[in-house]
Subunit: 241 residues, 2 copies
Amino acid sequence: MRDIMVEHTMRAFDVDLQELAGEIDAMGRLAEMQIANAIEALSKRDVALAKRVIAGDDEVDALHRKIENKVLVTIARRQPMAIDLRELLGALHISNDVERIGDLAENIARRVLILTSETPTNEAIRQIERMMKFVLVQMRRVIHSYAKRDVAEAIEIWGQDAEIDAMNSSLFRELLTYMMEDPRHITFCTHLLLCAKDIERMGDHITNIAEYIHDIVEGRPFPDQRLQADVASKASIPLPA
Amino acid sequence: MRDIMVEHTMRAFDVDLQELAGEIDAMGRLAEMQIANAIEALSKRDVALAKRVIAGDDEVDALHRKIENKVLVTIARRQPMAIDLRELLGALHISNDVERIGDLAENIARRVLILTSETPTNEAIRQIERMMKFVLVQMRRVIHSYAKRDVAEAIEIWGQDAEIDAMNSSLFRELLTYMMEDPRHITFCTHLLLCAKDIERMGDHITNIAEYIHDIVEGRPFPDQRLQADVASKASIPLPA
C-alpha cells in the first residue's frame, strides 16, 4: 500500500512537471510571436502592429506570474528532492528569461513609434532585421530544445550567440560611420543602436536558457559558463570603430 | 504536544526568513559597493578599479545562487502557506533584481576599459556621475527599506525613479548635440549613452524591488504598477532631441 502511495505522489509530481513544461512552451511561443511582430513593425515602420506588440506584453507577463506561482506551489506541495528541485529551479529561470525577452520585444516596438518620425537609413534597418530574424530562429530552437530536453541542440544554440554579437559589433561600427558622414542621421542611428543592443540582450537571454537546459538535463552547470560570460560581456561592448 | 511542534516549526521558519533577509541585505550592500566603485572607476578612468568591479561580480552571483537555493529548500522543507510563499517569492525577485544591478555595474566598468582610449567630454561624464550617484542613493534606500519593511520609504523611492528617467532623457539630448557639433565625439558619446542606459536600467530594477517590498508587506501588488510600467518604458526611450 505504501509503495502505491509513493508511486501515486510521484505521478502527481510528474503531471505537475508536464503541465509546467507545457506552460513554458506556450509562453515561449508567445514571446516568439512578439519578436516576429516587432521585426515586422520595425521593418515596415508599422505603428499599429507596434502598439499590438506593446499591449501583448501583458499576456507574457501574466503567463510568467502563473508559472512562477505553479513552481512554488509544486515545491511546497510535493517537497521534491534535490534532483527535482533542479528541474523546478530551471523552469523558474527559463520563464524569467523568456519574460525579459518579451520586455525587449516590447522595447523595440516602442522604438518603432519614435523611428517613424525620423529620416530612415535603410541599409542599417536591413541589418537590424537580419539580426532579429537570427534571434527569432535561436528563440524557436531553444524553446524546442527545452521541450525535447535536447542538450546537443542547446549547446549548438549557445555557440551561435557569437554570431549575434558579431552582427552587433559590425552594426555598431556601421552606425557610427553613418553618423559621422551626416549629422542628420545621428538621432535615428542612435535609436537603431539601442534597438541592436536590445536584440543582443535577447541573444544573451537565449544563451541563458540554453545553459539552464544543460543544467536540468545533465545536472551540472554548463562547462564553458565562465568563458561564455567573459566573451559575451566583452562582445556586448563593441570596440570603437 | 502537537501545538508545541507547530510552534517549533513556525520558529524554524522565522529563523529561515531572518537568515534569508540577512543574506539579501549582504548581497544588496555588495551591489552598492560595486556601483560606488563603478562610479569612481568611470569618473577617474581608473582601469585597475574597473577590473576589480568586473571580478567582483562573481561574488554577487554566488550570493544570488545561495539565496535562490535557500528559498527553494525552505519552501520544500517548511511547506509554507500562501502568505509565507509571498515572502519567499519576494526574496527570490529581489535577489534577482539585485543580481541584474550587479551585472549593470559590471557593464559600466567594462565600458571604462574602452573609454580610456577616447577623447573625453567632461561635462557629459559629470552628468553620468550625477545620475549614478542618485541611483546609488536609491539603491541604499531600497535595501534599507527591505530590511525595515518600510513601505512608505519604498513608495517614495519608487516615485523618484522619474528623476533618473528625466536625467537620462536630458543626457541623451545633450550627447546628441555633442555628436552633431563634432563628429570626433561620436564614438565616445555613444559609449556614454550606453552607460546612461545601463544606469537607467539600474533605476528600473530598484523600482521593481520597491514594488516587491510593497507586495510582501501589504499582500497586494503596487497600486500604480500599470501606470509605472507605462511611464518607465516611455521614459526609457528618450524622445529625439
